[in-house]
Amino acid sequence: MILELRNVSYRYRKGALALDDVSIGVGEGQSVGLVGESGSGKSTIVRLMLALARPTTGTVLFDGEPIVPARLGRFRASVQTVFQDPYSSLDPRQNIESIVAEPLRSLGLARGAEARALVTASLAAVGLPADALRRFPHEFSGGQRQRIAIARATVCHPRLLLADEPVSALDVTTRIQVIDLLAELRASTGLAILMVSHDLSAIAALCDETVVLHNGRVVEAGPTASILTAPREDYTRALVAAVPRLPLA
């Protein structure tokens, strides 16, 4: 496992239990979808998995060991993230080169010409032209911005991409393009993906395994196809049934 939550519970200071004995993990090259509605604990899991918060009980393991400060650099180089809103996740005052180079800079991985080569390659991999380097976030559409965020997350060749609702803010035509891009990156680089989403179709498109979260607990986990077609739990059944479907052609 690259990253694993083992018997993790998380309690807010005021006492509400946000996560209750949750165990999930992502191995090398795996793709796992985490689906849940508001208040299910999705965001708390993301914060714990990014080592931005610590569990109340249980452990978060990176390569089988706790994330202690001495391992944080290696952890950040291995686990990168893409957020939901491409309008607030890119610094409006930095140009695209500077934004995408951020992980290289802050992790001390590359500088100068070497960094520029990596940034150019990363932008090319997400389908953005090299002349994007000198431009600024406001010159790009939502879908293009999400590509920039993906370029930033993958520029240091991480092993795991944690994508928190990466397509939820996008139009349907753009959504499918970004899903395709993530699938391509997975296929070409062996990148493991943990995608958090309330959108079952996005998870179905990208993830082999699905974990269903409800009120801070894992209610069901298994291959995505069987979660969708033969859910075992009542909650999963209700969730799948509630997804609006197109009339049959």
């Binding site: 509605e37 508001s38 939502g142 139009d171 349907v172 035509t173 959504r175 499918i176 309330h198 079952l200 179709s201 996005a202 179905a204 498109a205 196809a225 969708l228 077609t229 209700a238 969730l239 799948v240 049934a241 509630a242 997804v243 609006p244 479907r245 197109l246 009339p247 049959l248 052609a249």
Partner: protein
């Protein structure tokens, strides 16, 4: 007389940027119409133009006849009698549509008092009835502030407020986009039942083809401010004529197919 008649509607900014161009459609009493479009298509601006709610800096041209009254260029005092009585709007985000400093009960009471002239115990009874109609528990919700209840409950309250004035046209602008999928299903069912029960006309605006297909039979597809296609949702889905619609339908089908067969 048609309840809503939109002819050559245009909306542009002060600077001259066109947002909606040459849009025409009619909606008779009791009919339903879906407006489908992605961000920037002009669908929400259209709903604002129809009710004369365009913000400063936006200019409407053409004609919008709402219950026979010209909305385009009309003075505010001409529009006030139309709002609520003829047309009400349910917006996407109930947290911003509701007043955060006012208890839900008072917000629901306001349009009922104004439009139906009820006071005192009759008003209280009408508020209880309005909340019950959207399946909210009057005793608990009436005294709550918007932040104290869930997103689904807030949208139910917003629907109760919109319907309190007994409008003949309900405009629902992405009414379930901010909601969880199980809550979305409940709200759509509720809207469908209420619109039917009251014989209201419905202008339903959404980016989601599957959601629209659950609510209306006739649709207009908008792209960059222009109606690129209109027809029944079944025909639009099975045989889209405009390239943009074809791309939209293909994307939606692609995502739908991911969910497997039914």
């Amino acid at each position: 007389m048609t309840l809503l008649s939109v002819t050559n509607l245009g909306v542009h900014t002060d600077a001259g940027t066109p947002l909606v161009h040459n849009l025409s459609f009619d909606l008779a009493a009791g009919e339903r119409l879906g407006l489908i479009g992605e961000s920037g298509s002009g669908k929400s601006v259209t709903s604002l133009a129809v009710t004369g709610l365009l913000g400063a800096g936006l200019v409407a041209t053409g004609s919008v006849l709402l219950d026979g009254v010209q909305v385009v260029g009309a003075a505010e005092r001409r529009l006030v009698p139309l709002r609520g009585r003829v047309a009400s709007v349910v917006f996407q985000e109930p947290l911003t549509a509701l007043d955060p400093l006012m208890r839900i009960g008072r917000q629901v009471a306001e349009p009922i008092a104004r439009h139906r002239g009820l006071r005192g115990s009759a008003l209280r009874a009408a508020v209880a009835e309005a909340l019950a109609e959207v399946s909210l528990d009057e005793a608990r919700i009436s005294r709550a502030f918007p932040h104290e209840i869930s997103g689904g409950q807030r949208q139910r309250a917003a629907i109760a407020i919109a319907l309190g004035s007994r409008p003949r046209l309900l405009i629902a602008d992405e009414p379930t986009t901010a909601l969880d999928v199980t809550v979305q299903a409940q709200i759509l069912r509720l809207l469908d039942e209420l619109v039917d029960a009251r014989g209201m006309a419905l202008l339903f605006i959404s980016h989601d083809l599957a959601v629209v297909s659950a609510m209306t039979r006739d649709v207009i597809v908008m792209s960059s401010g222009v109606a690129v296609e209109r027809g029944t949702i079944d025909r639009v889905l099975s045989a889209p004529e405009h390239p943009y619609t074809a791309q939209l339908v293909q994307s939606a089908r692609g995502l739908d197919d991911m969910l497997g067969t039914r």
